[in-house]
């Protein structure tokens, strides 16, 4: 893959194997080549256990590649984290239970040792639709609200790279669709290089510019699809025949054994 501008995030023939307790090792990823242009929204789509979360953890610097290289803006991922330029929303929101919503969103400032910008915290609370809940604690919120708070926390330091690890995986279908519409709206306000890991085909097509379809054991890239729908995307896109055709196509790609039936 050659581009005019260098990729913001690059994975070059990356593989990752984990050593198990019994001494054997298991290959989670093999031969992953992946590039994200600056400001691009890429979704990694695959069945559970295909290693898609490992791709995200490699980019986040939480794991290191067994072979190959992961580079963000030409540097190691851990350097981006150390410079507090990385925003991540995890599947289990990871909000600290003893802090209020506003304090949780302000946490990256405190960890970075910089002054808390209260105006920005309040603006983000409004952006993710949590106005009126700034002093509530996570246990008092619904699952969807916790994920909104977690996304606001990922955005608060205005990061260069946003990583979303199945942020809506634990939500019911209706809330999930609603959150997708919200995320699409939030993302439209400021375009930033984003990697979304998901197993939901709808979610990937609705949110991403490009979709990487992965297959499991060992995790490899099966194919790449560019999403043709223009931005900003209205929820009505979800009801067009083109959208449904694409959902069917990718669903089949994920489950090739079903195509034979």
């Amino acid at each position: 893959m050659t581009q005019a501008t260098p990729d913001a995030i690059r994975l070059d023939s990356v593989s990752k194997s984990f050593r198990l307790d019994d001494g054997n090792s298991v290959t989670a990823l093999e031969g992953i080549d992946l590039g994200l242009r600056e400001g691009e929204f890429v979704a990694v789509l695959g069945p559970s256990g295909c290693g898609k979360s490992t791709v995200l953890r490699l980019i986040a610097g939480l794991e290191s590649a067994s072979t190959g290289e992961v580079r963000i803006e030409g540097r190691a991922p851990s350097q981006l984290a150390a410079a507090h330029r990385l925003g991540v929303a995890f599947q289990d929101h990871a909000l600290l239970p003893w802090l209020s919503v506003a304090q949780n969103i302000a946490l990256p400032y405190r960890v970075a040792g910089t002054k808390v910008d209260n105006a920005r915290v309040d603006a983000l609370i409004e952006l993710v639709g949590l106005t009126g809940f700034r002093d509530a604690r996570p246990s008092q919120l619904s699952g969807g609200m916790r994920q909104r708070a977690s996304i606001a926390r990922a955005l608060v330091l205005d990061p260069d790279v946003l990583l979303l690890d199945e942020p809506f995986g634990a939500l019911d279908a209706v809330t999930r669709r609603h959150m997708n519409v919200e995320l699409q709206r939030i993302w439209s306000t400021r375009t930033l290089t984003t990697l979304l890991v998901t197993h939901s085909v709808d979610e990937a097509i609705f949110l991403a510019d490009r979709i990487i379809v992965m297959t499991g054991r060992p995790g490899r890239i099966l194919r790449e699809v560019t999403v043709p729908f223009p931005r900003p995307r209205d929820p009505s896109v979800l009801r067009t025949p083109e959208f449904h055709a694409m959902v069917d196509e990718l669903t089949l790609a994920l489950e090739p054994e079903e195509a034979a039936l």
Binding site: A81, P97, W98, V111
Partner: protein, 248 residues
């Protein structure tokens, strides 16, 4: 009426105990040197409030000082063990061994080392509070909310920031468990130390009264000790509950 039945429902065991006590003394015709009846004991407490209060205040202050020192040191050493693997390897087995040694066994050793005065009583209480705190806070430092470790990784947190914003706050509920356990234990350790080697306080007052067969005074002291210990326990228990709700 409902209030009375509520009172009875809550305190029937205590009332039954008092009734049995009175019944035993009356039926067996016991001499007051062997066992006085409940009322003379209560009368002795009520007619010498200053004496009982002064000694109770001293015992509680000693226990509070000891528990405070023990909690602070226990938490500090647990954090030191968290920060350094070398220290953890040295301190953890030591903590586990010493936390299973009964306080009674430590009192003569500490008294011999530190002398027979009030600071030794404080030290004994501190030792009794130190080990549970070390064990509980140490466990709390490792018991982090789900995903928090990854979160602090991607936030680029330094070890100091991790300690301050994640590990220390996360251990507060365990510190409160340590408080709930060490407060009543601390009161008992203080009384025990006063009883064995003290010159004042409730423990000494009991020993002194019992040695001259002033059984109303001795049992009055026991009564005050019981009330004080129960009060301390329920206060610490309540504090732990409040913090736990705030923290989850």
């Amino acid at each position: 009426m409902t209030r009375l039945s509520q009172f009875l429902a809550r305190n029937w065991a205590v009332l039954l105990l008092l009734a049995l006590w009175q019944g035993w003394v009356s039926l067996a015709g016991l001499n007051s040197i062997v066992l006085p009846a409940p009322w003379p004991v209560l009368r002795d407490v009520l007619s010498h409030p200053a004496l009982y209060l002064a000694n109770a205040a001293q015992t509680l202050a000693t226990a509070a000082a000891g528990v405070a020192i023990g909690l602070a040191l226990g938490a500090l050493v647990a954090v030191a063990a968290w920060a350094s693997r070398l220290l953890a390897g040295m301190l953890t087995p030591l903590g586990l061994i010493f936390s299973s040694v009964p306080v009674v066994a430590l009192i003569p050793i500490l008294a011999r080392l530190l002398g027979y005065d009030i600071s030794t009583v404080v030290a004994i209480v501190a030792v009794s509070a130190f080990f549970p705190t070390f064990v509980f806070v140490g466990a709390g430092l490792k018991d982090l909310p789900r995903g928090a470790d990854d979160l602090f990784g991607v936030l680029g947190a330094s070890r100091a920031a991790r300690l301050r914003h994640l590990v220390l706050p996360a251990t507060v509920p365990n510190l409160m468990i340590a408080l709930r356990i060490t407060v009543p234990e601390g009161v008992l350790a203080a009384i025990l130390a006063e009883f064995l080697m003290g010159r004042s306080g409730l423990g000494f007052m009991f020993r002194e009264a019992a040695s001259r067969f002033a059984m109303e005074r001795a049992l009055g002291t026991s009564l005050v000790v019981t009330v004080a210990a129960v009060l301390c326990f329920s206060l610490a228990h309540r504090a732990e509950r409040v913090v736990r709700t705030r923290w989850s």
